[in-house]
Amino acid sequence: MSLFTDFIQYPFLTQALLCSLLLAVLCGVLSPLVVAKKFAFMGASISHGALLGVATGLVLFKDNTVMDHILLFFITLIITLIAVSPLAWSTFRQRLPSDALIGLFFTATMGGGLMIHQMSGTGKGDLLGYLFGNILTLGTFDIFLLFTLVIFVTVTIFSKKQIWMLFLFDEEAAAIQGIKTKVYHFLFFLMLTLVIVGGLKISGVILINSYLLIPGIFALKWAPNASQTFTYSIVFALKSTLLGLFIANAFDMPVGATLAVTQVTLYFSSFLYKKVPA
């Protein structure tokens, strides 16, 4: 029983639960877009690129105050956005072979981040927390931030759901039909960067990609139509988050890693479930 009540009893676990559920909704909404746009590797690249922003932010804002947390988020976001913008520009209508460019971006930004971190002499623990996620660093600001992001992303996608669906299905035809595909392309990159930077503390640079991919892969595989991919993805992300947090708490495992493994296990289990006759 205590395994369940822990999440109410201990404030840090309550905050972790709330933040994880908000991140699950965020990634649940965005994940079908990432998978359908075939930008799986792009998500990994941006999350690793965010390390440059985090390393710079940790040099500038070392104190553990709320204001430092806010400034750290914004400096990470701004630096990541600046770094991502040439990538977003070059992948619009495939101007350059995107896989090679993503590889370049990935290596350059992550390498830069590690160099800044090394030169600044900041403690290793700070950066490790951002690499693999650390729920102990979550606070009220994170709940507020993730809640704001949930509102922004859901409104942006659901208010123009048909346009997003057409954009994902056939970008060329959407452009000919009069849809400003360039705006939607850059909006997609903005949302992706916001979600990655917002979720770094929970899943970390390395593991947030599981949140961005697995719910979408599940949804695109099993949803009966494009409209329901969002519902399938959100429900999958929420269920796997609850299960992952419970397992992490029960067996004293790192949260980010447990969430990633739980999601992958649940995804493959879905094939077994589908094969069982009704």
């Binding site: 057409l166 452009a175 000919i176 695109l220 009966p224 139509n225 494009a226």
Partner: protein, 291 residues
């Protein structure tokens, strides 16, 4: 000669993917018109500039020089509603969009389409299957018909089709092209049909545009000659039935054609005379062969 004003008027269109390199033009001084209720068949080899031309018309690429103008009943307009119908392989087949969902997006970003309108549009194109099935589960012919229904809902005045009959059997090709014929008549739309199937283009197209980079020929299909096709494809057509009036065509000396940038092996008048007898013999075979 068509006295109705064209829907699309292309004048001296030139385009190069790398303008800094000379003689790398993909299209050079291409000129043609498409009228309402007309199918323009676009023929040419791979890499001849057909897809580039479609992209220029749809505004995805910008021409280096030349003009693309659109008209609506003699009045110059910025851009009419347009639809692009690609091959099935060109779309995102992993995305589970249903036929119903796709057609309900037909008028985005301007207005929504009701389910009743979707059902009517599908009926017009003889699509009798469940509209809630995924687009990626459709056959090539069904996919093309669904996109034609989308063009109808979109009130498209210009429809660009990129090899719509690819992968279809003879019956499927005829059905689809007959449907396109009905569509252009009913909607008075201009249809640009990029095709490798010369026989189908000659049967269903009204005018032709033979295109191979800097070479182009544009006129009514009755004025097409064997040497024009050979100049377009850079190869000889051993057995070619151009169309039912093949005898008239081969005897036609004074055809109207615009040939820009004469190619080295382009048929001269003398070559045409020599080729006539040979062509007549070949026409007896009543067979066709794609290059």
């Amino acid at each position: 000669m068509n006295n109705v004003s064209p829907l699309l008027d292309v004048k001296n269109l030139s385009f190069s993917y790398n303008p800094s390199i000379q003689d790398q033009e993909v299209l050079k001084n291409v000129t043609f018109k498409v009228h309402p209720g007309e199918i323009l068949g676009i023929l040419g080899p791979n890499g001849g500039g057909k897809t580039t031309l479609l992209k220029l018309i749809t505004g995805q690429l910008k021409a280096d020089s030349g003009e693309i103008t659109f008209y609506d009943k003699d009045e110059l307009i910025s851009r009419p509603p347009m639809s692009y119908i690609p091959q099935k392989e060109a779309i995102n087949l992993s995305y589970p969009l249903t036929v119903n969902e796709l057609l309900m997006c037909a008028r985005q970003p301007f207005e929504k389409v009701s389910e009743v309108e979707v059902a009517e549009a599908l009926k017009k194109v003889s699509f009798n299957k469940d509209p809630h099935q995924k687009v990626n589960s459709l056959s090539g012919g069904e996919f093309q018909r669904v996109l034609l229904a989308k063009a109808d809902l979109n009130r498209s005045k210009i429809i660009l089709m990129d090899e719509p009959t690819k992968g279809l059997d003879g019956v499927g090709q005829d059905k689809l092209l007959t449907l396109i014929q009905e569509f252009k008549r009913e909607k008075q739309a201009a249809i640009l049909l990029v095709e490798h199937n010369i026989a189908q283009v000659l049967r269903h197209g009204d005018r032709l545009l033979c295109l191979n980079r800097t070479f182009h020929w544009h006129d009514h299909k009755d004025h097409l000659e064997k040497n024009i096709l050979e100049n377009t494809y850079h190869c000889e057509f051993e057995h070619l039935l151009i169309h039912e009036k093949v005898g008239d065509i081969l005897a036609h000396d004074h055809h109207q054609c615009e040939v820009h940038d004469h190619l080295p092996h382009e048929g001269s008048h003398q070559d045409n005379e020599k080729g006539k007898d040979k062509d007549k013999d070949k026409a007896e075979h009543e067979s066709e062969e794609k290059p």
